[in-house]
């Protein structure tokens, strides 16, 4: 009975895990296939080349010529088409520009978010001033406002500044401390004993130095979480670039991929999947190197909520 139960648990978990992975494997697999193998029925999972054996030598043949040769002479060999990636980058035309824009935005927003929200979180947690907690409630309340409500006025504001069609609207905001990150960091700052700051104050340490040299180094894990989430957010963001960017020179990878799909979608699935893999892969690799931070971050958001 217990054995059966354990078997069932594993069976369900493995089945679920496979379901999670299949779309991603299918993406990579399609990205490595020649076009005729993308549209075969039943589907081909492993990209291959066909050869015919003649006089002990293998000669490659085309799919269309398959029935010209005896079936027992046909040899199938695993052959991923790595050149699809090169061709997809080529077909996207400005892939490297997209990548550059995306990385610039990631860098700026990560710096902006970490700097501004750690400052604000410090002010909300480690300095005692009148009205602080009321002000913090206001800060929390801003999280209630859905983006569509402020979308149009913010767009108009950037338009008035002449920033539509530049990257500025996508990073300037991150230098002004979003409520969620302030909240996350404040939770962390509050766990550090007050005596630490008091001792430094008695020694004549300025408040900024306490922040910079004592508190921040102690909060590296939390800062990592904020930085990582911001990086992810910027890399993945679709709506922001869609609204603010007008020139293809300024496009991010997300927007560039969508543009590519709208131009080449429906037929060149192998290139589209290769391009999608290129957009998704950096995030997946990043995840594997920073798994602990990720999981901690996600758990933190849930539990403290």
């Amino acid at each position: 009975m217990r054995l059966l139960q354990r078997f069932l648990i594993y069976a369900v978990l493995v089945l679920g895990a496979i379901t999670c992975l299949i779309p991603l494997l299918w993406m990579v697999s399609t990205g490595l296939k020649p076009i005729e193998q993308t549209m075969s029925l039943p589907p081909t999972w492993i990209p291959y080349r066909l050869y015919v054996e003649q006089d002990g030598r293998l000669t490659e043949i085309q799919q269309a010529d398959l029935n010209k040769y005896p079936a027992d002479k046909i040899v199938r060999k695993f052959a991923p088409r790595w050149e699809n990636f090169k061709n997809a980058i080529h077909a996207m035309k400005m892939f490297w520009t997209y990548l550059k824009n995306t990385l610039i935005l990631c860098l700026l927003t990560v710096i902006g978010t970490v700097a501004s929200s750690s400052l604000a979180a410090y002010g909300f947690s480690r300095v005692d001033w009148r009205g602080r907690d009321k002000m913090f409630m206001v800060c929390l309340a801003t999280m209630m406002v859905p983006f569509p409500v402020v979308m149009v006025p913010i767009y108009c504001m950037f338009r008035w500044l002449g920033w539509i069609g530049t990257l500025k609207p996508l990073w300037v905001g991150s230098f002004f401390a979003g409520a969620f990150n302030v909240f996350l960091l404040r939770q962390f700052f509050m766990t550090i004993p007050k005596d630490l700051s008091e001792a430094a104050r008695i020694d004549g340490c300025s408040e900024f130095r306490i922040f910079w040299q004592i508190i921040l180094p102690l909060c590296r894990p939390a800062l990592m979480v904020v930085a990582l989430f911001q990086f992810m957010y910027t890399w993945n963001d679709f709506l922001g670039p869609l609204i603010y960017l007008t020139k293809q020179d300024d496009y991010t990878l997300a927007l560039g991929l969508q543009l590519f799909q709208s131009q080449h979608g429906g037929t060149e699935w192998h290139y589209l999947m290769a391009a999608s893999t290129l957009v998704a892969l950096p995030i997946i690799i990043l995840f594997f190197f920073t798994q602990k931070t990720f999981i901690e971050g996600i758990s933190m958001t849930g539990i403290k909520g």
Binding site: L13, R132, V138, P146, P148, C156, M157, A275, V279, S299
Partner: protein, 294 residues
Amino acid sequence: MTRAEKRNLWIGLAFISPWIVGFLAFTLFPVCASVYFSFCDYDVLSRPVWVGTLNYSDMVTDSVFWKSLYNTLYYAFFSLPLCLVIALLVAVLLNQQVKGRSAFRATYFLPSLVPVVASSMVWLWILNGNFGILNSALEWFHVKGPQWLADEKWTKPSLILMAIWGSGNTVVIYLAALQDVPRSLYESAEIDGGNAWVKFRHITVPMISPVIYFNLIMGIIGSLQVFAQAYIMLGGGGPNRSALFYTVYLYQNAFDYHQMGYACAMAWMLFLIILFLTWIATRSTRRLIYYGGE
């Protein structure tokens, strides 16, 4: 106020000054402007013209608005409970003494990491009616799969399916909460002869109820604002606007039709709907949530 208090006030304000500027520029001003625009006819190019409640009364007679609202509620009503229940089931199973738990957790989490544009492309391909693997898999069971995204009956279920696939971060949140439930509670239940269901129903669920509530509220807010995947995969709303979601229609009004006033009015209506639904969710679950120590 003493001198020290005054000094602290200035120091505190200096530290939070980035937030204050952000609050004024990206929340307070836009919120006020948005209220004003919602009573105006405004196309960005010319000055807003006050039209009173016209935008709001237009909404009542706009059949596309109702369709988008229906689509969104349909999507939220099915995707949210399914995601919450399936994620909880997976998390509970992972919380048993299983080998390779962190590998499983990473695997379940993976789909939610994939950039939404990339996952939309993958699902476009999976849901392809002729060559998609979903229909090939159904063929195994001798089921003729529909033309998912080209069939108005199946567009919303397609997106719901995709939402379930991407709900791995909920699993991680649940699992973190489950790991905080004291083992001793389960042990005492075992002594009293409680079976798995009893333990789940009377220990697990109450103990993690604040997290379930958190996921529920976040889910309501998120699923009512579903945008990117629908916009990317179905452009203007798919066949017969069957997947024209609220925010997609709002976006179209703002940036395709240049009816900024109408878009703002729609945004406020969305805000009210979200408030109303969260209020209902809070009211109906209030007595079921257990906060330790209270």
